[in-house]
Amino acid sequence: MTAMIGLFPTCLGEAVHRQAVRDAAGLLRRAGVEATPVRGATCCGQPAWNSGFADDARRVARRTLGAMEGLDAVVVPSGSCTAMMRLHWRELFHGDRDEERAQRISARVFELSQYLVDEVAWAPEPPAQRMPVAYHDSCHMLRELRLREQPRALLAAVADLRELPRADRCCGFGGTFSVRYPDVSTAMADDKIATAAAAGIGVLASADPGCVMQIEGRAARTGAGLRVVHLATVVAEALA
């Protein structure tokens, strides 16, 4: 019996980063994993959870949780959504009728690079030419999931990986924080862009659609010559 692997696009993946979701599916295929989009899944509930609206978060997460029943693994091209599902769902569904299900399924959720590197030990064929790229750590992926080396390993395999100074400093997205306090959020993005510019970095990859949206959106507005790309897209382009 073959394992059933799902790919969860996430809300930002659906709304603004479909290319990254397609690229994630492509990378999984190259790694010998046939992943199908999780049918009926919407969002992990994080926007409401991080704003304190647990009931609303649970209502949405329950839909997504139910859609993941029966899958052996769920791969997510987003560090913060993975952290929400792997770590916060336990608390979100604590004492709930779906508590057991949430615990069972959350353990099968993997961030994309985590899955490719740790679970299937994928080693891509190195391309002839390696383009320089730096990696920005997303907060929840680094400090909640402790995934630091996995995305770097993927990038180092196919690209000329440079270290971004203070790569672990928040880009200012923070979900609803970015629209609740846009001034502070934007200053944080400017900080990130200035640090990349000072280090001579032209391409910045992140494993979180939120970080990409934030840094890319601000760089585009200010005319900063920084390309910000989802990890899956950088790797897919390098192998194309």
């Binding site: 809300c11 659906e14 709304a15 603004v16 980063h17 479909r18 290319q19 990254a20 009926g40 919407t42 969002c43 926007p47 409401a48 959870w49 991080n50 704003s51 304190g52 609206f53 647990a54 009931d55 609303d56 978060a57 209502r59 949405v60 839909r63 907060c139 929840h140 400090r143 909640e144 672990d168 400093r169 928040c170 200012g172 997205f173 923070g174 979900g175 609803t176 924080f177 970015s178 629209v179 609740r180 306090y181 846009p182 001034d183 502070v184 959020s185 934007t186 200053a187 944080m188 993005a189 900080d191 949206m213 934030q214 890319e216 959106g217 601000r218 585009a220 507005r221 989802h230 897209t233």
Partner: protein, 434 residues
């Protein structure tokens, strides 16, 4: 009163704050990293968490013991239920002895607005920590728990000091410090009352412990006839041996120092036959909402040793400084303490939830989790109807896959009617990769 967003915007528009706060916060955070490299930092943090959690659990008994031992040592202990009680007590004593108080840095005193109380009673207050002195002369409040004047340039300090000096001063730090030293020395020698903070209070010996780098705390506690130490009740610890963990962890976390220049351990006033020390020593033990927290899921916030490490790594603090948080404490610890002790529930939102604070807190306060918990409290208690309705509509839509697909498609084409899109696009493009 303006909200956090407005105060933050004002701080972002202050070029000197923008130039100085990130620089000094980052430098201090780097010093901490260096200082932790040579020790088993994780082991020490675990030990410190255990000591602090134990002390908070035993707090009522430890405070009784502390009081008993302090009184046996000849000190007077006053338990203040509120900030107003504490301020009144200190002001009464000060008035009895004269019209001037020298003061060393104390966040508890900031919390109770002690200087305003004293000044309203006609008593001159002189802050003697250099950073506190600078912000006092500027008529401001501290921007940082450890570095009150983190936002000031040396040019600003010169401009603040020159009118006091009555002569031109350069911008050399050594010259500015020399002036402050001379100015403060006269006050140390003439003030009848010294007020200090407390870093730790050891119950078993009845000892208050003070950590400073300038020696001003020791001057305040030993030169005036009367010394008043003001402590938050959660400063109490059980044993002197606990200090072997807490002191080095405090200084390494705060400034990256193995130990501070001065560590003062004061167990009562001057005794017969002793050469120096005050005639009277008072210890004010301040509750001001703390004991209530012991029975809540927020209990661990009482573990805080006020090192400021969470501020130095906070990407939000970095851009706005401490006073933008609206009360005494800034940064992540301020975002947690302010709603709990001061009631402003909005402050729990003043974080991008990056969790950098969790990794540096020397006593492992789960600040990130506490912020999330505060947000749940706010959602249940004080969130506006529009916000509640927005999340209710959101969850109704996104628990239905077809409505989810429709709304993500609309948002992706930036055609949604939502005001949040406008709040996004005011400063950022919405780049869509279909």
């Amino acid at each position: 009163m303006s909200g956090f967003g407005e105060r933050a915007a004002a701080a972002l528009a202050d070029p000197l704050k923008q130039a100085n706060v990130p620089r000094f916060a980052e430098r201090t955070a780097d010093h901490r990293v260096e200082a932790f490299r040579e020790i088993d930092g994780e082991g020490l943090r675990t030990a410190a968490e255990r000591i602090r959690s134990g002390a908070v659990a035993d707090m009522p008994a430890l405070l009784d013991l502390l009081q008993e031992r302090l009184e046996a040592n000849g000190a007077v202990v006053y338990r203040a239920a509120t900030g107003a009680d504490a301020a009144r007590y200190v002001t009464d004593i000060a008035r009895r002895h004269g019209d001037m108080v020298v003061k060393s840095k104390s966040m508890a005193c900031e919390e109770i607005g002690l200087n305003e109380h004293l000044e309203a009673a006609g008593i001159e207050v002189v802050e003697t920590d250099l950073g506190e002195f600078i912000v006092q002369v500027a008529g401001e409040a501290p921007e940082h728990i450890i570095m009150p004047a983190i936002h000031k340039s040396r040019e600003q300090v010169r401009d603040l000091f020159e009118p006091l000096a009555g002569r031109p001063l350069g911008t050399e730090p050594a010259d500015l410090i020399a002036f402050a030293r001379g100015y403060l020395r006269e006050r140390f020698l003439s003030a009848p009352v010294g007020v200090t903070g407390v870093n730790f209070a050891v119950a078993e010996t009845g000892t208050v412990v003070m950590v400073t780098n300038e020696g001003n705390g020791r001057m305040c506690s030993s030169l005036p006839r009367v010394h008043i130490a003001v402590m938050g009740m959660e400063r109490v610890i059980g044993q002197v041996s606990d200090l072997s963990v807490l002191l080095p962890l405090l200084t390494r976390s705060a400034t990256g120092q193995k130990i501070s220049s001065y560590v003062s351990m004061l167990s009562g006033p001057r005794r017969d036959g002793e050469g120096d020390g005050p005639d009277e020593m008072h210890v004010v033990i301040l509750d001001n909402g703390r004991s209530r927290l012991r029975d809540t899921p927020y209990r661990s916030v009482l573990n805080c040793i006020r090192c400021g490490a969470c501020q130095n790594v906070c990407p939000v603090y970095r851009h706005i400084g401490g006073t933008a948080y609206g009360w005494v404490y800034g940064g992540p610890i301020g975002a947690v303490l302010t709603p709990l002790l001061h009631g402003d529930q909005e402050l729990g939102q003043a974080s991008s939830l990056c969790a950098a604070c969790d990794d540096v807190c020397p006593v492992r306060i789960p600040l990130h989790d506490l912020l999330l918990r505060l947000r749940r409290d706010r959602a249940a208690e004080s969130a506006g109807r529009a916000e509640r309705l927005a999340f209710r509509l959101w969850s109704a839509a996104w628990s239905r896959p077809w409505l989810f697909r429709l709304s993500t498609r609309l948002a992706g084409s930036a055609r949604g009617p939502l005001p949040i899109l406008r709040r996004w696009t005011r400063t950022r493009d919405l780049e869509v990769h279909r």
